[in-house]
Symmetry: C3
Subunit: 365 residues, 3 copies
Amino acid sequence: MSGLSLLLNGMLLFVPVAVVLEHANPSGHVWIFIASGLAIIPLAGWMGRSTEEIASYAGEGIGGLLNATFGNAAELIIAVVALNGGLYDVVKASLAGSIIGNVLLVLGVAMLAGGVRFNVQNYNALAARSQAAMLTLAAIALMGMAVFRSQVGTGNAKLDTDLSVAIACVLLAVYALNLCFELITHKQLFVGEGGERKTAPRWSLRRSLLVLAGATVLVAWMSEILVGAIEPTTHSLGLNSIFVGVFVVAILGNAAEHATAVLAAMKNRMDLSLSISIGSSVQIALFVAPLLVLLSHIVGPAPMDLIFRPGLVFSVFFAILITAQVAGNGESDWLKGAQLIAVYLILGLLFFFAPTLPLVPSGSG
Amino acid sequence: MSGLSLLLNGMLLFVPVAVVLEHANPSGHVWIFIASGLAIIPLAGWMGRSTEEIASYAGEGIGGLLNATFGNAAELIIAVVALNGGLYDVVKASLAGSIIGNVLLVLGVAMLAGGVRFNVQNYNALAARSQAAMLTLAAIALMGMAVFRSQVGTGNAKLDTDLSVAIACVLLAVYALNLCFELITHKQLFVGEGGERKTAPRWSLRRSLLVLAGATVLVAWMSEILVGAIEPTTHSLGLNSIFVGVFVVAILGNAAEHATAVLAAMKNRMDLSLSISIGSSVQIALFVAPLLVLLSHIVGPAPMDLIFRPGLVFSVFFAILITAQVAGNGESDWLKGAQLIAVYLILGLLFFFAPTLPLVPSGSG
Amino acid sequence: MSGLSLLLNGMLLFVPVAVVLEHANPSGHVWIFIASGLAIIPLAGWMGRSTEEIASYAGEGIGGLLNATFGNAAELIIAVVALNGGLYDVVKASLAGSIIGNVLLVLGVAMLAGGVRFNVQNYNALAARSQAAMLTLAAIALMGMAVFRSQVGTGNAKLDTDLSVAIACVLLAVYALNLCFELITHKQLFVGEGGERKTAPRWSLRRSLLVLAGATVLVAWMSEILVGAIEPTTHSLGLNSIFVGVFVVAILGNAAEHATAVLAAMKNRMDLSLSISIGSSVQIALFVAPLLVLLSHIVGPAPMDLIFRPGLVFSVFFAILITAQVAGNGESDWLKGAQLIAVYLILGLLFFFAPTLPLVPSGSG
C-alpha cells in the first residue's frame, strides 16, 4: 500500500506539468490530455481519502452516506465540466465506461489477482445479488430509453427530456432506498465490508476538509484542461471520441479506488473488493448519471437526456448480465476474472474499430 | 380479509352504475370506462372464488387443473370481447401488461409489504426457478416472433398467422406439461401452496356453479361496455391505447387475486404469494395468450398473430429477466420488492410518454 | 450401447451409397444430400472414439487437451469444406446450429430421458455455471459484432475482417485459459466426468491412429459431396439454406456424441452428460468458430467474419440464456428437459417459416 501511495503522490507532479503545457504549448493537445488525465488520478485518490476521514468523524450511518454520496465525486466533477462544454457524448460515454469498467476490468482484475493466490475465494452472495439486481434495474432504464427512441424517433426533444427527468427521479429514489437498506435495515448483511472501511480517523477534521477542498478545486481545474483537449486529441490520434470516453476518461476518476479493490482481493477480502467494484457501478448508474440529468438543466447549454447510443446501451447491458452470472453464487476463481477481462477486451475492440464519429455537441440527443 | 371482502362486494354497485351510464349518457365515455372497469374487479373475484369451490369438490388433481385453467377466466373473457371488436392492439397490450403486472407490481408489492414486517422471507427457490424458466421460454417465443418480423418484413400475413399458430401449440403443450409436473410428478415441490389453497368446500356445488355462471355473464357484459369505451376514453384523455391496455385493462381481470398475494406475503406465506403472482404470469403467457391466438380464428374478424410491438416485447423480456434474478435464490426482502416496483414504474413512464398511437384494428399485425 | 454401436456401424453403408449416387445420378441431389449426411454420423463417431483412445495413451493432461481440441473435428472438417466452397452462410448457420443444438436439443433430451427415470438428478452446479458463463461470453462477442454491424453499416469489409480476427484471438485465448482451468488448476472440480471418460485404452495406438486417419479422410470426402448438394437440395425442397444449416448440417457432426450424452443421463451420470452437451457448445463457440475465422484467411475464397445474421445471433443468445437459467442450480428434472426442447422447437419453427433466402457466397458479409 505504501508503494502505491508513493506512486500516487508522485503523480501529483502532473498537476503543474499540465498547467505549464496548457500555457507553454497550447497546440500540443495530446500531451496536455495525457498530463491532465494523469494528474486527476492522485487528486481523485485524495478526494476519496479525505471523504473517508470526514465520514469516520460522522458516525456509522451518516459516514456511510457521505462515502456513498461523494465516493465518485471526481467523476461527477469531470462530467459536470464536460456537460458545461456541451460534450454530451463524452459524458454519456464516460458514464457507460465507468459502469462497464468497474464490473468488468476492476472486478475482473481483482478476481484474477485474488484467484491466482487462492484457489477459490468466497463472498456474501446475497449482497452481490442485491447489487447486481440494482444494476439490472439501471440497465432496464437505459435499454428502455433506447427502445423508446427507436420506436418514437428523434422528433421531440421535449418529450425525451421530460421522460429522462422522470426516470432519473425513479433511479435516484431507488438509490436512496438502497442506501437505507445497506446502512439501516439490513446493515448486518454488509457488516463485513463496513468493518473494513470504517476505521478510526487518522486526520483531524480540519485537515480532512482542507484536503477535500484543495483536491476538489484542482480536479475541477484539471478537468477543464482535460475536457478542452479531448476533441483535438481524438482528432489527431484518429480515435473516435466514444472510445476515448468509454475506455480512457472513465478510468481516470477512480483509478486509485480500483487499486484498493485489487489489493483487497489479493488479501482475500472479496467482500470489500466486490463492494468497491460493483458498488461503484451502482453509484454511477443510479446516482451520478441521474443526478447529471437533473444538473444539466442548470449547468449545461441544453438539458441532457438518458438516451445513450445503442453501442453503449448494449455494452452496459451485457457487462451487467455477465457480472450477475459470474458473481451470483458467492464464489470466485481466476477464470471468472479472466472471463470478465475478456468481455472488457471484446467491448474495447468493438469501440476501437468503430469508425471515427464526429464530436458535435448533441444537445438532448 | 373481511374488510377486503366488504370492499369487493361494495364494488358490485358499479355493475348497475355502468349499465345506467351506458344508457343514460352514452357520450360520457370516461365515466363508463371507469365504472365498467371497477365493476369487473369484484366479479372476477367471485369467478375465482367459485372456481376454487368447485375445484375443492373435484379432488386434488382435477381441482388443481380447474384452478389453473379457469384462474384467469375473467381476463380471457375481456380479451375475447376485445378480439371480437377487432382491438388486437388492446388485447396484446393487456396480455403483456398482465404478465408484467403480475411479476413486477403484484410480486413487488407483496415482497415490499412482507419485507417491511419480516427482515428476510424464505420460499421454495426450486419452484420459483422452474416458473421463471417457463416465463423465459415464453419471452423467447415473443422475442423470436419480433425478430422474425423485423427480418422478414410485414408482407406476408398468412406466414405470420401460420407461424403464430404453430408456436401457440408449442406453448400450450409446454403449459400442459407444466401442469403435469406441478399436479402429478412433482407435486411434493408445490405442496406448500397446495396445502394453503385446497381447503374443504364451504359452498354447495350448486351454489358454486350458479355464482360462476352469474359472474361470468356479468363479466362478459361489463367487458362489452368497457371495450366499447376504450377508444373514445383514450382519445378524450389524450392517452395512447397501448398505455391503457398495459397498465389499466391488464389490472382489472385479477385485482382481487392480487390482494390475496399481498395478504399472503404479509402473513409470511411467500410460497403462496409467489405461486399466485408468478403463476398468473405463467398462465397468461403460456395458456391465455396462445389460446387467444387459436380462438381468434373463430371469434375475431381476422386471426390474431403472436407478433407484439417491440415496446411490449422488451417490457415482457426485462420484467421476466429481473424477476428471475430477484426470485432465484429463495429469499426476499423489502428492497427486492422496491426494485420490482421501480421497474414497473420505469416501464409505465416509457409507455405513458410514448406519443398517442392511432387505435386501428390491426388484423394480423 | 451395443445396439447403438451396431446401428452406427450399419450406417457406414451410406458411405458407398453416397459415392455411387454422386456418380450414377448426379441430379438426384436430395438423395445424395441424405446419404452423405447419414454417412458422416458414424464416421464422426469413429473419429471421436479413436481420439479418445489416443488421448488415453497420452496421460491425463495431454489426453484432455486432445479430446478438447479434436472433439469436434468432424464439424471442423465440414465447415472447412463449406468455407472452401464459399458457403459462408451455411458455415455460420451450422456453427450457430451446433451451439444451439447441443445446449437445447442434446441437453434437453438428456434431462428429459434422465428425468423420466429419476425424479431429480444432481450435478456439479459450479462447473455448469462456469461453462455457461463461457457461452455468455461468446454470445456477447456475437451480439457485439451484430450491433457493430447495425451501427456501422456494411461499407467496410476490411474493418469487419480485422475486428473479427481480433475478437477471434480473444475467444481462442479464453478457450486456452478454460482448458488450463479444467485440466490443471481446478481439475478437481471436473473429476467426476474426467473419471468417467478417461478409461484404460482398448485399442493399440497404431490401430487408433489408423482409424482416425481413415475416418478423417472419409469425413472430408463425404463433406465434399454433402456441401455440393446443399444448394440444389434446399432449392428443390423449397427450404431456406439457413434452416438446413442450423437444424440439419449442425446435427451431423456430433450425432454420435449426442447419443452418449443421453445414455449418460439415463444412467444418472448428469455430470458427464452436461460436460458433453454444454462442453461441445463451448468448444464450437470459443474454439471452432474463431479458428475458422483465422483459417478462412488461408482456405476460403475470401476471409470469413464473425458477423452472423440477426436471427442466428438472437437464437444463440436466447439458447444460452435459458440454459444458464435451467442448468445453474445443480438439479435437473424432466420438465427442464422439456423446456429446453420446446425452445429448440420454437427456434426451429421460426427458421422453418422464414422465407427462402438466396444462397449466394456472401464473402465477408
